[in-house]
Subunit: 107 residues, 2 copies
Amino acid sequence: MAELIKVSAQSRSTAVAGAIAGVMREHGYAEIQAIGASAINQAIKAITIARGYLEQDNMDLAVVPSFTEVDIEGNERTALRLAVYKRPANLTPPPISMNGSGHPQMV
Amino acid sequence: MAELIKVSAQSRSTAVAGAIAGVMREHGYAEIQAIGASAINQAIKAITIARGYLEQDNMDLAVVPSFTEVDIEGNERTALRLAVYKRPANLTPPPISMNGSGHPQMV
């Protein structure tokens, strides 16, 4: 299993982004853990920045989030776990339909 | 293009999760926009909850985050845009290697 990157509210997004890019280049997979709104925000921003860093490597990223229970000094807390994958070529929006609600209308 | 789901700091995660699940069932693709740490946190939690809602549909989700500039009452703000896709079957962790740094060691 790849290293777990733990992100806190004090983490700098660009530093975390560098760590994510490094782990993705080496292992092709990374896991990030964050607890609380500020840390989760930093983690998501870091993944978004890492997408830019990895453009030069012709690598894009896709994320699958999940909840996990962790023990913090004897207290059970719910953490967000972000599994980061290489974005596969088939991960694209569906073709645009010209009818149906929410789709572009012919005018 | 599918509807844009706008999430605010006041949005309830479970309500947003229901909206995401509905759009994914209908269109197979959704886009979410959030500005600020609280809204981004709500959006990510909502996607995680929606994964649970869609289990009964045998659908899983994967997310690609990006930044986008939006105009809020004449001011330019950076928003987080979350593109939500059906998770393809090939989006899985790489096979575990038994050597190399960060990998399980034989003991």
